[in-house]
Amino acid sequence: MGKDIREDIAWAHINQDVLKSLENPRPLFWVIVFVALMMFGVGVGCEVYQYQMGMGVAGLNNPNVWGLYIATFIFWIGMSHSGTLLSAILHLMHADWRKPIYRFAEAMTTFSLMTAGLFVMVHLGRLWQFYYAVPYPNERWTWPNFQSPLLWDAMAIFTYLSSSVIFLYVGSIPDFAICRDNIHPGWRKNLYTLLALGWEGTDRQWRNFRVTYLTVACFLIPLAVSVHSIVASDFAMSQQPGWHVTSFPPYFVAGALYSGCAAIITLFIILRYVFKFEEYMTMPILKKTVRLTFAIAMVWTYLNLIEFASVWYSHDEVAKAVLIDKATGRFAPFWWAMNFCGSVVPFTMMVKRWQTSIPIMFAVSLLLNLGMWLERWMIVTPTFSHGYYPWTMDTHYWPSLVQWGIVFGSFGWFTLLFMVFCKIVPSVSMYEVKEMVYHRSLATKKAELGLEGGH
């Protein structure tokens, strides 16, 4: 395997390359922003219509009271998990290959959480009363219901979102200082001056910075695991067949890391081209990410099979009927597509030649995420149309165009936020890449001198 990064890149060169991404990306950047804006517009249009008319225009009915909104909500929440994996877990494990790519992964975490939060709002019948679910002190002395997994959900997402914003921001402070010192005067310079919080790079600042960063990283890891476990509790704590599965929390966490890693590959390839990051987002790093994704894909596959097996051998007739309905009923094509995309497609990542092939990995990563989106849909919907009560089996449900439109728009919203972020904040962490180059070159020198313990 080649080197993760060239060891002879000068530090000034790193600054120059990354700062260039803030100034002049390839024209494709503007195309992406424009398309994303259009998609977002479609979503906003659908939401305005739904807000005016009521939730009925989404095509939901009784008993299918939850639909694509909840499925896509889980999808976005899931996608947020890999940012934390890359930036916090791999940080603690001293895997330094993550350094050029963790910043955008962390941004992905933040923006996909924000998108997920929007879906909670879009889903509510009375969006304007959403604050009833927040435990705020009030004169009526009424509190939300602390028994409800949905309430845990709301609190977990708020905590995770605020923590990951802090993590993203703290990790960027030294880079903001570089931007401040190098960019031409204007509103941007003022912005970076403000964001850099007077960073000068003194020893004391670095020491405090390291401690803070490590603390937030340690705080974030259990939080990330708990967030998706709580999302799983929305289903596992209920009484419905197909949802009432004990293994859901780890299954959801694995699925979350899976779709997040796949999304990182997609964004890696896009950013690499758009912002001309070929020297930093190198093929060996892509290869490592692909291998990590493959490992997680296998964990997910295992837990997926465990779920089927535990339903099958539980001899719970109703839960079994839901599983059979998934495999043979109206939603069978989607269910099989989910299994194919989630468990068969990742085997392409085993082929060494393909691991570094950009078109193949781009297509594979999109397919994996399609599979993971289908997974969420297949968890939510079949239980409604094939629940305990036989009356529900006569209902026919298909999401309306409004529902599809909002799901479609959410991808535009996410892309828009993400692209604007990458244009304003350095999406490759300059100071960490310098560290990486320094450590690597030091190790090479030591090896040349025949010293032990190069690290």
Partner: protein
């Protein structure tokens, strides 16, 4: 919010939770003289839908129209379900079986625990209540209801949908609200009637008698298939029926069902899921079985 507030035993607010920590209802701590319950005799039911129509009239239910009905967006708190024999005969000699389905007013209702804002709660007379003003429309209650008897206001029926154009708004029942879009609603056991009856009894300084209150569906039923009343009043028709059929409220499996050769017709739907429903059905006597 204080720490003690957080550490409180929240389940105690469900007054008549049938399985408390002690394994039996804590009637002493939360005494209640009334437990509204129902029994529906499927042998008497002809599937005429009069109960459903009466419910529409009594509870200001919007008639959603053919299109929305076919989309599954109907608002029938009381619905008549039809079931056919499975033996593929073209004209089954038993005909269709009818099952009037309404909110079962479960004692340990699956819908109550999952509501994020606590909009659905238990009342001290054993009903599962819905606070429209508190509901934010997350629809978790409906997702967790095994009977799927909760109905969501998919549209703004009174205004934009104009379900009651003038002068039809004159037919609305003034004793209860008309619900706007985005809230969940369901059968209340005609609480506007039960509360009036309780208030009248209180004014007259007496206990509530059987027959003081009838639900709209019960009143409309031509075959008298539905009986409704106070389960704690041993003189009430509903209590007698439950007693006769040996169906006990706080059991998830009735003793008679494990005994061989019982001919009792009383049963509750999804008893084994332990929601402790307050509606008992009396099985239809099939000609072939007699």
């Amino acid at each position: 919010m204080s720490v003690s507030n957080l550490l409180e035993n929240w389940s105690k607010f469900r007054h008549t939770h049938p399985v408390g920590d002690k394994g039996h209802p804590d009637w002493e701590a939360y005494p209640s003289e009334i437990k509204w319950a129902m029994s529906i005799d499927l042998d008497a039911c002809t599937g005429c839908n009069a109960c459903s129509v009466a419910c529409y009239a009594e509870n200001n239910l919007p008639v959603v129209g053919k299109e929305k009905y076919s989309h599954g967006q109907a608002m029938h708190w009381m619905r008549i379900e039809r079931y056919w024999d499975e033996d593929k005969r073209e004209v089954p000699n038993q005909g269709a079986q009818f099952l009037p389905m309404l909110c079962q007013q479960c004692e340990a209702a699956p819908c109550e625990t999952v509501c994020p804002v606590g909009a659905t709660n238990h009342t001290e007379d054993g009903l599962n209540s819905q606070i429209y003003n508190r509901c934010i429309g997350s629809r978790y209650c409906s997702a967790n209801c095994p009977y799927k008897v909760r109905y969501f206001n998919w549209y703004d029926y009174p205004t934009t949908e104009n379900v009651w154009p003038a002068p039809m708004e004159q037919q609305l029942n003034p004793d209860l609200t008309v619900r706007g879009k985005g809230v969940m609603e369901k059968c209340t056991f005609c609480k506007q009637r039960t509360y009036t009856a309780r208030n009248n009894a209180k004014t007259e300084g007496r206990k509530i008698h059987d027959g003081d209150v009838q639900t709209a569906c019960q009143q409309a039923c031509p075959t008298n298939a539905i009986s409704f009343g106070n389960l704690f009043d041993p003189e009430s028709r509903v209590a007698k029926q439950w007693e006769q059929q040996q169906v006990e409220l706080i059991k998830e499996e009735q003793e008679k069902d494990v005994k061989p050769g019982n001919n009792l017709r009383g049963y509750r739907i999804f008893e084994e899921l332990r929601p402790y429903p307050s509606v008992m059905y009396l099985e239809r006597v099939r000609e072939s079985d007699v």
